[in-house]
Symmetry: none
Subunit: 419 residues, 2 copies
């Protein structure tokens, strides 16, 4: 007997070789949890028609909704659609409207559609096309027999996510899946350790509905508050008072929720205040500017920046004093301050932010080890700088990320509590 | 009939809820590939004894080595050992030496062992203990019947990895597993569609040893060449001629192998030529600088840059003409060219690279839609620019990424084929 549950089947030899992480399975698992759809198994199988069909045979014995990712591309080893049609003994037909759409997408990018892309227009008779607005390979929604739904998605995560949200979720709801829902809110914190926060909110961590669970990673701590209820509105009502308690306990260490980032939160605060920001970056090489401009509409408050990787650029474009550079070195309090002031003045912004540090793996010394970073912040009331020691063992990427978050967090606190 | 292959069974409800990424499966998959152990399936199942046993039943039908991660902790929902013993109808016994070791580990950390930890000393009769030098939960190696090996590991990645390397790998080698190895090289391509490349290298895609498989994502195409041989050196000998053929066929569209990126490849070429680069970024907001400086040692060739997000910055710091801006708009050929020249001159570099475009989601017009990007490149022989239309549907992040890769690829081709 089949459970009324979903199963994720990830197709791709690259997964079996460990070349990529199965982030698609995580995304879909989160989505199924959010929709309150039971989900007991995940399977990974390679680009092999027989083994894929064996996985299908097992999956449709124990689950009623099989969600496939991968194997929809134009090459000979992309064989998910073919394998499914053959397994359920249903012929493939070429869908003219899909073929037209694929060839049009190629044309729009000024490229010729190759003959192998034709294959992506083949679907089993009776399947619905699941449109792929951002890529070339559409998926399908297919009920090959009563009580069994198959959904196929390409392996490219960004394409799969759009297709899931735009088409698959509304379809599932229309079929009565996801009646009770689990709804979650994630609260985000910066500048506090996971264990410290967990002790402060021990009462909330003990709750049953909503549940509160701590996570940590990439320098931030998160608390996920999850409620089970018949509707999203009711779940939110269960979550709201707990969320308020936690925010009150955490104070300024709480910075945002769900999809908020330090860049989006700082952007909102700047917009509200009618203020602007400019950056001067050394070891982050442009990462702070990139993070700030990852937010659509950031041109309202982001002026621009100077990437002063070379010391001469610090002197020429930011007005850092050659004597100070010589005396204190590029990674120092006074240079961070002069960089921040230079960014503010040269780019005519309310705030100037600067970062100078040793990101490693080389370049560390006894007094200035890898992981030592100074951030500067210049504003209407003057300039200040802060020293951070992120530790030698973290690695270049992580040191750079923590550096740019540190200076954004400093600006965030200043904007929330003007001195 | 069982294949002589391995299967990874990841146990944990947190995986089914999407709370964590299954990095353990990726690590083990890479290890199995490295050892040349065939591996056709991965399964994820929750902390539920019946469903776990169903997964075991399926696994031992189709594989001869089942590798479990997770479910070895002290709490009631950790039940991997119990489920396996019950499935194979073998009683559990408490292993005094394991109990002593666990309690000693607690004592060393100044803690009292809790009664629930006692459970971690229970093993099926006949199983070998797989020591866990860095954590409290040991695993096991067990042959419950001839020709079937089970291995259990805790879910904590760092503990699992040490146990795998110190005990599991030597054991497998002693049992004749992993005699041959599979070694892979990944070739990377930019500026060619997956389908076009696949058609050009159709002969290579049909090979058996090595195999050649295409992948695509984030704007690039990759070909993975995998060879099976007794040693890494022999595998490389099998790969080398095919790699050379493919490189010859692809010409300049091939840009690097394995861990190479456009930033690392361009960096190498600049270093060899004793040249430097500076950037002027608008819609990428610093992303090009960040990408170039993600490479350790990039200070040898990266001078810095100007993030000219606001038009006034383009005028003030890059010397873009206000008339040209008014006449053509910021997203235009002449502005891209003036930005590139400005970066080159202001930062005193051999090459100036520029990017100006509409990253979206807003800001597109009839004549300048979202996805339209101009990149500029100024060098010793003058300046040029290129128009790219990445399509409105791709999304902001992707348009920004493709833009910075496009300009790096242009510089790469110039460095390889000086005019």
């Amino acid at each position: 007997m089949s459970d009324h549950s979903a199963e994720i089947i990830s197709v791709g030899t690259e997964l079996l070789l460990g070349e990529i992480l199965n982030t698609n399975a995580q995304f879909l698992a989160q989505e199924l949890a959010r929709l309150g759809i039971a989900h007991y198994y995940q399977t990974v199988v390679g680009d092999n028609i027989l083994r894929l069909q064996k996985a299908v045979a097992i999956g449709c014995e124990r689950s009623r909704l099989l969600i496939f990712t991968g194997g929809l591309g134009p090459t000979p080893d992309d064989l998910t659609t073919e394998a499914l049609a053959d397994f359920f003994q249903v012929p493939l037909i070429e869908r003219a409207e899909v073929l037209a759409e694929i060839s049009e997408k190629f044309a729009r990018r000024g490229r010729q559609m190759s003959p192998s892309n034709r294959k992506q227009a083949l679907f089993p008779v009776g399947a619905e096309v699941l449109p792929n607005p951002t890529g070339s390979a559409p998926g399908m929604i297919w009920q090959p027999r009563p009580g069994l739904i198959l959904m196929t998605f390409p392996g490219v995560p960004s394409e799969m996510k759009v297709m899931w949200q735009q088409t698959a979720v509304p379809y599932l709801r229309s079929q009565g899946w996801g009646a009770a829902i689990i709804y979650s809110r994630t609260l985000r914190f910066w500048g506090i350790a996971e264990s410290t926060l967990a002790e402060k909110v021990a009462d909330q961590l003990a709750l049953q509905n909503p549940t509160v669970a701590p996570y940590a990673g990439k320098g931030e701590v998160r608390l996920r508050i999850s409620a089970k209820a018949p509707t999203e509105a009711e779940a939110l009502q269960i979550i709201a008072p707990v969320e308020q308690q936690i925010q009150a306990i955490a104070g300024l260490d709480y910075y945002g929720s769900d999809d908020d980032s330090l860049a989006s939160v700082v952007g909102c605060l700047l917009k509200q205040a009618g203020q602007t920001v400019a950056v001067a970056e050394s070891c982050t090489g442009g990462g702070l500017g990139q993070f700030l401009t990852s937010i659509a509409g950031s041109s309202a408050y982001f002026r621009g920046g100077i990437i002063s990787y070379d010391n001469q650029i610090k002197i020429d474009l930011l007005g850092v004093s050659p004597d100070i550079l010589l005396q204190h070195g590029a990674v120092s309090e006074p240079v961070a301050q002069q960089m921040a002031v230079g960014a503010r003045e040269q780019l005519n912004a309310t705030w100037g932010l600067s970062i100078t540090g040793v990101a490693g793996p080389d370049g560390g010394t006894e007094t200035k080890p890898v992981g030592l970073v100074y951030v500067g912040i210049a504003g209407p009331n003057g300039v200040e700088s802060h020293r951070h020691q992120f530790g030698e063992s973290r690695g270049r990427d992580s040191i750079r990320w923590l550096s740019l978050c540190a200076v954004l967090d400093t600006l965030r606190r200043k904007l929330l509590q003007p001195s």
